[in-house]
Amino acid sequence: MNQEQAILRVRNLSTCFRTDRGDVTAVDRVSFDVFRGETLGIVGESGCGKTVTSKSIMRLLPEHLSYFKQDSEILFDGKNLAFAKEKELRQVRGNDIAMIFQEPMTALNPVFTVGWQLDEALKYHTKLDKAGRKKRALEMLKLVEMPNPERRLSEYPHQLSGGMRQRVMIAIALCCEPDVLIADEPTTALDVTIQAQILRLMEDLKKRVGTAIVLITHDLGVVAQVCDRVLVMYAGQVVETAPVRQLFHQPSHPYTKALLDSLPKPGVHQDRLTAIEGIVPSLFDLPSGCRFSDRCALCEDQCRNEPPQIQTLDSPDCSVRCHFPLQ
């Protein structure tokens, strides 16, 4: 694996929310590194904390409702973003770490043109003059392979199709050449043929611009297609980290294996799918032992009583949170 320094290091990130029913820890001691030029996938089912993780890194969560635990670290360029001031964050957001969202219609402003929204990002983050910004905006639309880029600059988001809106989002995110791009379910709202276009575009841009991508998704097919390393999350915790090949061929955590087994396999005739019984536990009422214990087919007494710690396996790239990791 990449021996150079990680660009973004997350250590023991715990994000808590204040609710009417007491405080709840949505993300529990999550740690990972992001290396230059790689695509890190974060997978999990809804409610597992993957979006909260990404929003925590960007510090986009409402401050009056959420807080980080004391030892949480989000290390970027020597600074701990978890406790950085808003002024410092403004330097980082957009410039160094950018984000694209699941639903481009709600992330773009409906009352301004595409050109205006690109211009806004450039105005805050670059020293270009007006003509220069316009030129750069056009370049960005060309970079994301937007059809008729000149015309699109003066169009509003509602005039674009879903795929084109996501291209605009990517153009805005990349216009300051960030080191890290966080993509939160960038293709979930899109049709498969459009998803294929966006995934190919992200691959191309990663090679050309050298941006590291943190791809958050629930779709294991997308992960298999584009990611280099994968983090699997369950009920707010990281349960397994592994390079993508290892994860798909030799999953160590029973949850990862069950998730892979529950997918329909094209070309393979199966009578029934292997479902995971039960449902994800509520964060208010977590099992006292392993959080996956009540759905796990291999659950033992130790799993019910004692929460497993994350442990490194044979290779330093692989770690798993399980008392009895699969061989």
Partner: protein, 330 residues
Amino acid sequence: MALIKVSQLVKHFPKRGGFLNRVIAKVHAVNDVSFEIHAGETLGIVGESGCGKSTLGRVIMRLLDPTSGSIEFDGQPLQELSHQQMMPFRRKMQMVFQDPNSSLNPRLTIGAMLAEGIRFHNRSGYILKDQPLDQYIDSLLSKVGLRADDKSKYPHEFSGGQRQRIGIARALSVKPDFLVADEPVSALDVSVQAQVLNLMQDLRDDLSLTILFISHDLKVVDHFCDRMLVMYLGHVVEEMPCKQVHQNALHPYTQALLGANPVNDPDERHELTVLDGEVPSPYDPPLGCPFVTRCPIKTTKCESENPPLVQINDQQKVACWEVSAEKPHA
């Protein structure tokens, strides 16, 4: 024997505007669609958003009236029937919706909601032959994997997967013969999706249901159905048996769909098929083949003439000039 027979079904939605609010354009949601579903068979409909697959499901259920064409249920044409005359068929045809959050009444308990439909359709005593309502609802809930005491709960007390189970229980509560399932697992996580698909499979086998399964996910349809129709812009472009879609797909659009689907194995990473060209607006579909703007193998003929759906072999039909020229019906 075909339970459902759809012939030359067309559904247009008018777009009004301009002076005097006249019809200024039409959305061609379903265009000249014909197919049959045999009793006990599961037919899948695949297509991307806006291809008309949900509209087709709703027109068959007569939740929408067709612009032209006919729908026969067990030999009886439905499109001319009045509301009164439709009633006996409403019991026989039921629907499961995509979003279990918006299709369940938040103010009714599960028991009350199920009882409503059963009481309404039980005038002839068909549903509750030998057991009281309460007992029947309990057995229904256990059939879909819920507990009997769940009937006094409200929809918000359930998870997404459980709500979809309730949606299925509601559809099955009146003992239908035919079920339209419109994206029943799209809103669910993969692990729950597998649970619900297995449940539907068991119920289908136990109750010998005929199902029309609508989905955008080719993998799910391939797994769950016997046959599938692939729709594009209101047209059926290919009809073929499932389970061997990878070998069988002939239409360039079906192949593009297959190629654009990521494979669940990093070793089999392939260059995803990316279609060039624009998706045409349904207000203004192309003159010839609907797929002509994005098709990699188009010819000049495709731009002017719409290819008919022709039989390629015993089980497969394709609407493509190029494919049917290559493989004339043996």
